[in-house]
Every structure is written in C-alpha cells, then in structure tokens.
C-alpha cells in the first residue's frame, strides 16, 4: 500500500517539482504543435494521462518478469498497445477532435515523457505508486499545456476555449478581446510556443527563488531517482 507521505511526494513531484514541461522539458514536439489552443492541449494531455497511468501500472506489475536487456522494446510494445486503444477511443467518440489532433495521438508512443516515467519510475516501484506517478506526471503536463494553450490562443487571436465545440457540442468559444483585435500570429506559430514556454519556465524559477528566499526549508525527498531520457 501507499502511505500519505509517499502519495504527497509523488503528487508534488508530478505537478510541480519534476513538471514534465517546465523542468524535464520533455515532449516538446506535441507541446509546440498542439497547444495552439487550450482545448487541444488539455485533450492531448488527457490522452497522455490515460496512456501513462495504464502503461505505468502494466510495467510496474511486470517489472520482475521483464529481462533487463530487452526492457526498452518491451516497454515500447506495452505503450504502443495502450496508445492504439486510446487512438481508437478518440477516433470513435471524439472524431472531430481526433481529426484536429491528427498524428499527435499515435505519436504519444514516442513521447519521451511516457517512456521516461516507465523507465525511471514504473520499472522500479510497485504498481500503485506507479499508477499515481503516471496520473500526477500527466496532470503536471496537463496544467502546463492548458496554460500555454490558453496564452497562445489569447495572444494570437483574443479567444479562449476555441475548439470546445469539438468536445462539448453545446458550448462555444469565448471571444475575450474585441473582434477587430489583429492577433499576434507569432504566438500561434511554433516560435511563439517556445517564447511563451520560456516565460513560463522563468516564472516557475522566479516563484521557487522567491519561496526559497522567504523560508529556507528542507526539500521533500524524492521517492525514486528521477531520470530523464
């Protein structure tokens, strides 16, 4: 079983301390390509959360049976099978959105976040811990992509939640800025994603530096070695 302290540590690592996009800087390709609006970012993150939770629990359960030398192909096989499931689910239930996200759902297989967590965490920890790690790493990715997507569509076109009708047919996007707002196209283009992600990383570092200045306290011990690929 998992105790309270371990759970807190996993959650803190996933959402803030080891945030996939802001600290590990993993999975930049979907981050750049998909976060042109908030809905795309959130939905791709949800797909990734499902894959990560399931692949982490699968690998953690099988960790004592997988030969060390061929572990990477086995991990990829497990991840690929799960991604296929998610891919078919999206295609069947959210077809419009599936067409928008396109290649990036199948590409979750090659997303280094998934493989990094499987290799660095799930292969060394019990299934329940691994499941929570997958979920919280995914949540960390989700809020980053949501904020980045929101910023990009707001600066780029003055809207928020554009494309929400693809997920919830009854809702419509918000037009926050007046319709004659010219839109800074750069924010929608990949360079804009890089610049805004840089700003978010700077903001996180600033928050941490300020917190460290205010009260120096011992950091929460990480549960396992956190590697990046």
């Amino acid at each position: 079983m998992i105790n309270r302290e371990e759970f807190r540590s996993i959650a803190h690592n996933g959402i803030w301390k080891q945030n996939t996009s802001l600290i590990q800087i993993l999975g930049l390709c979907p981050l750049l390509a998909v976060t042109t609006n908030m809905v795309n970012g959130v939905m791709l993150s949800l797909a990734t959360i499902i894959v990560m939770a399931l692949s982490n629990v699968a690998v953690a359960s099988l960790r004592n049976f997988i030969p060390h030398e061929i572990r990477i192909p086995v991990f990829i096989l497990i991840v690929a099978a799960l991604v296929t499931v998610v891919d078919l689910l999206f295609n069947a239930n959210l077809h419009e959105l599936y067409l928008v996200l396109g290649i990036f759902i199948p590409l979750i297989v090659t997303n280094c976040i998934v493989l990094a967590r499987v290799e660095a965490f799930a292969a060394k920890n019990p299934p329940l811990h691994a499941t929570f790690d997958g979920i919280f790493m995914g949540i960390g990715m989700l809020w980053t992509l949501a904020v980045l997507g929101g910023l990009r569509e707001f600066i780029g076109g003055g809207t928020l939640f554009s494309g929400i009708d693809l997920v919830f047919p009854g809702l419509s996007p918000l037009q926050l800025l007046p319709a004659d707002y010219p839109g800074l196209l750069l924010a929608i283009l990949p360079p804009g994603a890089f610049i805004l992600l840089g700003c978010m990383i700077a903001w996180k570092n600033w928050v941490e530096a300020r917190a460290a200045q205010r009260q120096p306290r011992p950091p929460i011990e990480p549960l396992a070695a956190d590697g990046t690929n």
């Binding site: 839109g183 196209l185 750069l186 283009l189 360079p191 840089g198």
Partner: protein, 339 residues
C-alpha cells in the same frame, strides 16, 4: 578592458559617443525618407524612441541595473530608429510599439542586455512583425502621396480608416507579385520601364533613401566606427548572386543595382551587419558573415515568400556567428600558423 603594455593612444570611444554617431549617420537617410515619403516617419521615430526608452527603463529596473548609465548610452534609441525606418511609415502605432517592445524586452534584455544579444534586436522586431502581420507590414505609401500629414497621423492612430489607395507594395514586392501572377508573360525589363516602379537607378523613391543610408555608412567608415569588411562583403554577396542571375536571364531577374538600392539592402549593409554585438568579431569572420548574409538576403528576397529578405538573412547568420568566429580565429602573434 585594461591593457597595460605599450603606450597606446586613447580615444574616448564610449558606447554613448558611438551610438550618437550612428544616430547622426542615419540622418541623411531620414532626410531623404522625409523628402520621398513625407514627414510622417518623424512621428514613427518618436513613437519608437519613447517606447524603446520606456521598455528599456522598465527592464533595467526589473533587472536591478543602474538606470541612468544604460538609458543614456543611446543603444535603445538606435534600435528604435532602425525599427521605425524598416517598418512602413503609415503602420498603426501599435505595430511599431509591438515591434519595439519585442526588440527591447525579448531580443535584448531577456538575453542579457546590451552586448549580450545574439540576434540583432531591430531585425528580430521586423521578423516577428512581418510573420505576425504580413499585410500591414508590406503596405508602403505611394511616392508623393497627396494626403496631409495630419490625416496621415490620424491613420497611424486609427482615427481614420486605412485606405488601400494611399498605400501599396514596395518596388521589390511589385516585381515579385507581378512575376508570380503572370508567369513569363511580363518581363522584368518591361516592368522596370514603368516609371511608377523604377526611378533613375533603382526602385522609385527608394533609391534616394537607400542612397542616404549609403552616405551615412560611409560616414561611419570614415569615423572608424565600422570596418569595411562586413558591408563590402554584404554588397558583394548581394551583387554577385543578383548579377549572375541577371546575366543569365535579364527578363526574369532585376539588375544588381535595383537590388542594392531597394528595400533594406543598404540599411542592412551599413547599419545591421556591422552590429558589433550580433555580428562576427574576426576580420575573416566578418567577410564570411557579410557575404553569406548578402547572398541569403537576395535568395530569400527573390525566391522566398516575404517582400524583403535582409532581416531573415541577418538573423540566420546571427545564429552562425559563434561557429564562424570559432573557425576564423587569427593566429596568435608569434605563432606561424594554427595548424
């Protein structure tokens, strides 16, 4: 830097003095600009300068640097003027403000401020804005526009609607669009015979403005503020490529003279590729940097999608500066060769 050996002649070459002379060198170009396109450019220069100084002050305060020292060095004003001169004179005020903020905040201060920026701030501003607002960035007023300055100012501040009649494409843009629209049916020779496009030796009106920049550049050269390497190599690169293609097919490609004295070529050659911060440091490196920037500017201008290629060419070459400098280190005095 403190040098101790040898008695050197000291010259009072503070950043402020250099920047003031660069500003002075821009004056002939600005004068020609006012004469050709009207005095609305002065308003844009003011908008850009005020924005640049405010942004510079805000960033310096944020970074806890001495305000007075860096504000008075004039580098922000040089960036502002270069931005105002590369943007269309009738562009709305927020376009210049956005470009200037982008240059000062992102291209300059986020990289560490004066002397640390790998990319030329003015060119970053131009590239960011032409990518974001391609239509606004390619509308230039017709030469000899019959609209009062007050009305033009109202257009800039959005109080009067933007009329298509008062602005059009640059000669470079006209050439490219015409060639694209009717492939082969209209030749460059025909097009350049049209007096609304071609003046005496280059794009109509532009020839005088770019001539003014050339004059300013020669002034900088005479004052010893820039070396001849980068500008000469830039002009050589641009002329070589445009000349070769012009000789190959004069009906399809304009002559080198047209390319040198249209668009941003002269401003780029004398004021952009000579930037001591974002350009190469070694003499051989400056030659390579200038030549490649000139060649790229021509290729992007003629075969690319945007009206002018100088900004993109300079930015691309800015990325290459560290590696060029690395491979062009001169042999240390006393050494035979580095090999």
């Amino acid at each position: 830097m403190e040098f101790t050996t040898s008695p050197y002649l000291l010259k009072n070459a503070s950043v402020q003095r250099v920047m003031l002379q660069v500003l002075a060198a821009l004056l002939p170009g600005i004068a020609a600009y006012v004469w050709v396109f009207g005095s609305i450019i002065l308003l844009q220069l003011v908008i850009a300068t005020v924005t640049a100084l405010l942004a510079e002050a805000a960033m310096l305060k944020l970074r806890e640097k001495p305000l007075g020292l860096f504000l008075s060095d004039g580098s922000a004003i040089v960036t502002a003027w270069l931005i105002a001169l590369t943007f269309p004179p009738l562009s709305p005020w927020w376009l210049i403000v956005t470009g200037t903020l982008f240059a000062i905040v992102i291209a300059k201060h986020l990289y560490g401020g004066l002397g640390q920026n790998p990319f030329n701030p003015a060119m970053v501003a131009f590239a960011a804005c032409i990518v974001s607002f391609p239509a606004l960035m390619s509308q230039w007023p017709a030469v000899g526009l019959q609209v009062s300055v007050a009305d033009q100012a109202r257009v800039v501040f959005g109080l009067l609607p933007r009329l298509d009649a008062i602005s059009g494409a640059t000669p470079l843009d006209t050439l490219k669009t015409a060639l694209k629209l009717d492939e082969g049916s209209i030749s460059v020779t025909q097009l350049l015979a049209d007096q609304t496009v071609y003046g005496f030796f280059a794009g109509r009106g532009w020839e005088w403005v770019t001539g003014g920049y050339l004059l300013g550049g020669l002034f900088l050269l005479w004052r010893g503020l820039i070396s001849w390497h980068a500008p000469t190599a830039f002009i050589a690169g641009l002329s070589l490529f445009s000349g070769a293609l012009w000789l190959y097919n004069p009906a399809q490609f304009a002559n080198p003279m047209f390319h040198l004295f249209s668009g941003g070529a002269m401003l780029g050659a004398w004021f952009i590729v000579t930037d001591p911060v974002s350009g190469c440091t070694t003499m051989k490196g400056k030659l390579i940097f200038g030549f490649a920037a000139g060649a790229l500017a021509y290729l992007i201008r003629v075969f690319g999608g945007y009206p002018d290629g100088v900004a993109f060419a300079v930015l691309l070459m800015n990325i290459c500066v560290p590696i060029i400098d690395h491979y062009t280190q001169p042999a240390i005095f006393g050494m035979k060769d580095r090999s």
